[in-house]
């Protein structure tokens, strides 16, 4: 399985990437939406993307709209992982085509349970 982690915080990228590697994901990371679109070009097929909301240059939500709008990587499940906790944001993310939504701060179990909901199990 292969995953993309998009977050402008290096610390957060490290945490999420490590967690996914423990689940035997191969991880590609990007520091904002523009970088993520760039990385998608030669990343091959991806199963999962964890996407922050607030990032410089291009926000996570715009990245999701772009990817879903262009029909890029249609098999890729997208999970927002963000400090935005208002109902309206969750709604916007789902409308844009995100599959799940995690509010920071999270624990490892939160991510595992959400992946379970997407039919992605550990190992």
């Amino acid at each position: 399985m292969r995953a993309l982690v998009v977050d402008d915080s290096k610390a957060m990228r490290v945490i999420l990437s490590q967690l996914l590697r423990e689940l035997r994901f191969e991880v590609v990371d990007a520091c904002d939406g523009i970088d993520a679109i760039e990385k998608l070009k030669d990343a091959g097929t991806l199963d999962l993307a964890l996407v922050d909301w607030n990032m410089p240059r291009m926000k996570g939500i715009d990245f999701v709209r772009h990817v879903r709008g262009q029909g890029l990587q249609p098999q890729m499940r997208i999970m927002m992982v963000t400090t935005e906790t208002e109902m309206d944001y969750v709604q916007q993310a789902l409308t844009a085509g995100a599959d799940e939504y995690v509010m920071k701060p999270f624990t490892k179990d939160v991510i595992l349970e959400k992946l379970g909901l997407l039919g992605i199990t550990a190992g």
Partner: protein, 271 residues
Amino acid sequence: MPITAPDFAFLQTFVRERSAIVLDPGKEYLAESRLGPVARSAGLPGIGELVARLRVDPRGDLTDKVIEAMTTNETSFFRDVHPFEALRTHILPDLIKARSNERALNLWCAASSSGQEPYTIAMLLRENFPALIEWRIRFIATDLSQEMLRRSREGIYSQLEVNRGLPAKYLVKYFEKRGSDWQVKQELRSMIEFRELNLIKPWPSMPQFDIVFIRNVLIYFDLPTKRAILGNIRKLLRSDGYLFLGGAETTLSIDENFKRSQAGTTWCYRL
């Protein structure tokens, strides 16, 4: 301060008589970490004084607080996922066919803690079986703890709690934001009757159930208690009903009247 051996022995009996929960030797640390705060909030200097109070006044206000502190309330929305998938894909469609004349279903979640398990089932019913709105549905959820029942009726969950296992599309559809917390909408809250029920005390009168969830509570009990509770459930379960236990629990070698039965990707128990 570490708990003394006689005080721990007293607590083992005290908790067991009132909740059936078995505190094994070696669980002293659990008593210390959970009862320290109970002692402090009662204005007592430590666990020694708390136990002294329980010895002289075992029916006082502190009793419920001590029992509640010693229970584990760990739960989450869609915990273990598979039982809920089984309800959605197999069990409810079958039951709806079988009950199409009566147009009535009775469900029970025993030991429902802070309510995530019954609300998960309520969301699943609304989402996938909207026609059931026209049916007579009795949905009872019970727990020993008044505090857990109060929380369940209120239906307010923290950000961490809604993060755990709850699909985002259900959060959007069935919850309202309340400050930094989230509250289950009235529409779902009104589907469930939350009632006090101590599994080891005589049970109040209840209907015959089509589906019973009693998950992650029998593990705390000894064999005779498990057997007695399963025996009581048997009397309340309809002959074609379904029983769900926690992932580490079983009826095998406890009550042979139940047969383990495949339910989607997991097991349930049937008569």
